[in-house]
Amino acid sequence: MDDIKWLQGKGKLGIKAFFQDILNKGLIDSVLMPAKNKKGNSYAWFLMNKDGFLETSDPIPPVMTIQGANILKNMTKKGESWSKTAVVLRPCELRAVIELTKLEQINLENIILISFDCPGAYPLTHYISGDQTSFDQKFDSSLYTASFETERNACIACNQFTGQGADIQLCLLGASDDGFMISASSAKGKELLQNVDGAKADNIETQIKKRDELMGKLQKEKDEKRQTILDRFKDTIYGPENLLNVFSACINCHNCRRACPICFCSACYFESKALNSEADNQLNRASRKQGLRMPPDLLLFHVGRMNHMSISCVSCGACEDACPENIPISLMFSLVGRDTQAVFDYKPGHSLEEPIPFVVYKNEEFKESEAHYTKRHQSACNCNTK
């Protein structure tokens, strides 16, 4: 098989060596991946060419600072990348990239998407305020075993943890410290992989089998876990009372939308003049409701945003990381997303070919959303009175 190779190397060093190798060989011009920041207490995104490859770079960081799709969007929104760039993304970031490509915010020309089996990530605030060395150790030691434990809601409830859909996948699950598999699934990826010297390990068949087995088991476990978590969460937010209780801590800072990769509008409806109104209008609202929370339209923002983007929500959890109030907003959107996506049988970030549900239609569908007209209404005949 040409599209699967065995790369030798120890842990993250081995993965880094792979990137250095393809840079040095000129297979790519630059690579976009996270590296430690200056103080070393967090991570940041870096675009590096072969002379600028950072020692501290880390393709699989234990924390997601900025959603990678947002970075790639900045880079390619106005046109295709000038240099051949490999981008290393978590699976959720990859899904967001695919959604944004469909939404015409990212140009994938000249971009090679690389993803990996993701163990999860720490919540951003925990990581920054905690002891990074021990966090890093704990994280790195669980790269191959999927035994990583985190408190990050989006990662706990994640069931799409492989880099499926990327041009190149680093198959870490079930690998060992002396090497890992790397597979290509697209023409771009295969072309690149051809020129990589990977040992054709004799045991590759067994490795694939080992990974598949592990994956199958894990997938089932995680699917179930996601269902239980979301169902349990649904019980805590169901109905107006509970819902408003969850959002009582919200300060209307809209940071969830800023961190969200899918919310790409530069002028958001919920921040626009459309929601301004005259003072007396707001006073009327206040007297109708015996009080009006200011700034108003808090629930409208959240539920409205669900309408605009939950269909493409990739459950990356960037919203929750950015929330100063730690509202479980990522679970909320995952829950709503699960249902809306199921209705349209749509898997966000799964494939570039699958159209976004709101841009296609069929003549006969969703009859259940229509209220069926059966008979003339009795009052409609003698309607001279009210």
Binding site: V303, I311, F344, F358, E370, A371, Y373, K386
Partner: protein
């Protein structure tokens, strides 16, 4: 006649400019009446009716919201009503998931000539909302 404490719902009726509004014109020409607590408004096409408008109405005082536009295949802009159907499907799903009463939103196609159907729809929805009772969200000061 009516009881003082009777609940008179506040209903918004979104009509597309071509069929929905046409239907209400036909109803008027036939001297048909619909309940006066139903407030119609016109959009150019049901496809232009972002579900956020519906949410805004529901959070700020409406007890129910109906949308009427051209029958499938009749849209003046070809596909606007299909889009509306998908959007409202998503909206109803979201409301259902959050426990916010998706039954307060109705979608029913009404053709230009179907004045009677429009009036029937209005009455039917009015009764339906009366049964459901007042929308709890409209009086929440923290929404």
């Amino acid at each position: 006649m009516s009881d003082e404490n009777e609940f008179i719902p506040n209903i918004v009726y979104g009509l597309c400019a071509w069929c929905g509004t046409g239907g209400s014109e036909t109803a008027a020409a036939h001297h048909l009446k619909y309940p006066e607590n139903i407030k119609p408004f016109r959009v150019m096409c049901t496809g232009a009716l972002d579900p956020v408008y519906i949410l805004r109405a529901l959070f700020e005082g409406a007890d129910g919201f109906i949308v009427s536009g051209c029958h499938p295949g009749d849209c003046h802009y070809d596909t606007g009503n299909y889009r509306a159907r998908r959007r409202i499907t998503a909206l109803k799903t979201i409301l259902g998931t959050l426990g916010l009463d998706s039954e307060r939103v109705w979608l029913r196609w009404v053709g230009h000539g179907e004045g009677q159907r429009l009036v029937d729809t209005a009455f039917e929805f009015n009764d339906h909302i009366k049964k459901l009772g007042p929308n709890p969200l409209k009086s929440r000061r923290d929404s």
